[in-house]
């Protein structure tokens, strides 16, 4: 199997890089490309455009609307009425920048907690007998398939004041007063760690599983204690998996809405929640667009880093 793969790779490198592209090949590229351009990329420009508009009591609730039928004069007039007022507003009102800061903080903390929970799990899976591994892998993936909303909802019944966790702790005599966990940031941490754990464990397991055990054996033969072998061999070699996993947790967690909304309380400031409230409760589309644009700017760096890392990993596999 590996031989045929190696042969295939060798053949591929011999083949001329620039083949003449047939019409079919162009069509193959064009269909998904066009879909993504129109439904993924173009919408971002519209968000940006509307973030420069003003809120209005109209349908749609912003001014000016983009209207090509007015021709160039109309377009110029539209452009001149665009303003960065919404962005200024975001900086002046401390609700917004506090939400951004607290989102990044909550996401970073939960990413770290997820790593603390996920690393031993991934490590245990990678070191488990080979015959168990497919089953263990399946067991990690399965919760990922079951609904996100349901998994967050399940924690409400556990973390409530009269919930199962408090009942257990009271019964064990650890506490005499029920702890308030639900509707605090602690519940948000639990929710994020729980929901995003598979995202971290899967890439981490993939790198740990490939780790060459003979390196560890060599270290132990040369008298290196296991904890040191772990720090100087396992940890550095698992770094690509750690990084990929952390990005997969951190980036979506920054903009998370469901978890802070259901598990968090009024003290929980997260930008996803703020954007939702701005859009659905205040119906201020321009301000929520501006909130989205800034959120995107904050996330651009981690997203680009994540993509580069994915691309490198992909090229290495190929």
């Amino acid at each position: 199997m590996t031989e045929t793969l190696a042969l295939g790779a060798a053949e591929e490198s011999k083949a001329p890089a620039k083949k003449r592209r047939s019409l079919g090949n162009w069509l193959l590229i064009a269909v998904p490309y066009a879909w993504l351009l129109f439904f993924f990329l173009v919408p971002f420009f519209i968000v940006f455009k509307i973030s420069l508009s003003e809120v209005a009591v109209a349908i749609p609730p912003y001014l000016p609307t983009f209207d090509l039928s007015e021709g160039w004069a109309g377009l110029r007039e539209n452009l001149s009425s665009f303003s960065f007022e919404n962005y200024l507003f975001l900086f002046e009102d401390d609700l917004y920048w506090k939400s951004y800061l607290s989102s990044v903080w909550i996401a970073a903390t939960s990413t770290l907690l997820t790593l603390l929970v996920g690393f031993p799990l991934a490590y245990g899976m990678a070191r488990a007998p080979k015959a168990w591994q497919p089953t263990l892998l399946m067991l990690v993936i399965l919760p990922f398939w079951t609904s996100f909303l349901i998994r967050v909802y399940a924690w409400i019944g556990i973390l409530k004041n009269e919930g199962l966790l408090n009942q257990l702790l009271l019964w064990l005599g650890v506490i005499d007063q029920p702890l308030t966990i639900l509707n605090t940031n602690a519940a948000v941490y639990v929710g994020i760690v729980y929901s995003y754990l598979p995202f971290l464990v899967l890439p981490l397991y993939a790198t740990l599983e490939k780790l060459d055990e003979s390196l560890l054996e060599a270290a132990s033969d040369l008298g290196c204690p296991p904890w040191r072998a772990f720090w100087s061999i396992t940890v550095p070699l698992s770094l690509p998996g750690v990084i990929a996993g952390c990005f997969l947790v951190f980036i979506p967690a920054v903009g998370e809405f469901v978890i802070p909304d259901l598990l968090g309380g009024s003290e929980t400031l997260m930008i996803g929640k703020t954007l939702w409230a701005e859009f659905f409760n205040n119906r201020d589309w321009p301000v929520s667009s501006a909130v989205a644009v800034i959120l995107l700017l904050i996330l651009v760096v981690p997203i680009v880093l994540f993509q580069n890392q994915q691309q490198r990993a992909q090229e290495k596999d190929a």
Partner: protein, 273 residues
């Protein structure tokens, strides 16, 4: 090196998996609770399932959700498979970086941004929102997941069979259906399943892109959860979990069996050659 699992590894596996599964198990157990109070056990009962089946709003929402998930998963699988072929096969072309960027970005993009941006697009092109706009929105992000799954399948396959067919004069489209598709089929099926469950699950993007008359099950569950935890919601959730779990396990068994069969065929073919 010690052979066999150490106590540390066993403990971390046990703790890790209990953390992953305990909440779901508790949710399922309490869906059979007689008492209306979710956290007080009042004896075994299936009455909440009956209650759920009489809740017409819930059933309507479930029907909308299933149709949306079916349509968007199917379109996303076609588009995602095409995208995977482009990523794996088309080599370098101008705009490739943008293309792979657009495939990877939706995987991590916060849902509130995806939802808002698609909604604003639909408003800008004056598209009435409802059933179809949810399908388009779900297709857009699900196709990226499909592309990744199928691409990993394409990366680990022997191209010589495909090249042989092309060399023997088989037209590319026919080669795709006769050779490539059967080989990557497990990936395509897994992609479809993933797209289906992603759509089944989505609350945020659906809330932004929906219109009057198209309320999905997660939206209905969410609005009830905000009012408080009820055993009825536990019952709905249990059914959904059971549905997805059975689906995933069945698919994985079927694809594994096909895979074993395929490899056996390959070995036989190689032995004959």
């Amino acid at each position: 090196m010690r052979k066999g699992p150490s106590w540390f590894n066993v403990t971390s596996l046990v703790l890790g998996f209990s953390f992953l599964y305990l909440p779901i198990v508790l949710l399922v157990i309490y869906s059979f609770n007689e008492s209306k109070l979710v956290t007080v056990w009042g004896g075994f009962s299936t009455k909440w399932y009956g209650e759920m089946l009489r809740n017409q709003q819930l059933l309507d929402a479930a029907w909308v959700t299933i149709r949306v998930a079916f349509a968007s998963a199917t379109i996303a699988t076609v588009l995602g498979t095409l995208a995977a072929l482009v990523l794996a096969r088309s080599g370098r072309f101008s705009g490739r970086t943008l293309f792979s960027g657009m495939i990877y970005a939706p995987l991590v993009m916060p849902e509130v941004i995806l939802g808002l941006s698609l909604l604003l697009l639909f408003v800008a092109i004056d598209q009435a929102r409802g059933f179809w706009t949810i399908i388009i929105a779900h297709t857009t992000f699900a196709m990226c997941y499909v592309a990744i799954v199928v691409q990993s399948r394409l990366a680990g396959f022997d191209r010589s069979v495909e090249e042989a067919a092309l060399d023997l004069g088989c037209p590319p489209v026919k080669t795709f259906f006769a050779i490539t598709l059967p080989i990557i089929l497990p990936g395509v099926i897994a992609g479809w399943m993933l797209a289906f469950t992603l759509s089944l699950d989505d609350l945020v993007i659906a809330s932004f892109t929906t219109g009057p008359g198209a309320t999905t099950l997660p939206m209905r569950i969410y609005s009830q959860v905000r009012l408080g935890v009820t055993p009825e919601i536990n019952a709905v959730c249990t059914l959904l979990v059971a549905f997805v779990t059975v689906g995933v396990i069945a698919t994985s068994i079927v694809t594994k069996r096909q895979e074993v069969q395929r490899q056996r065929d390959m070995r036989r073919a190689e032995a004959q050659a």
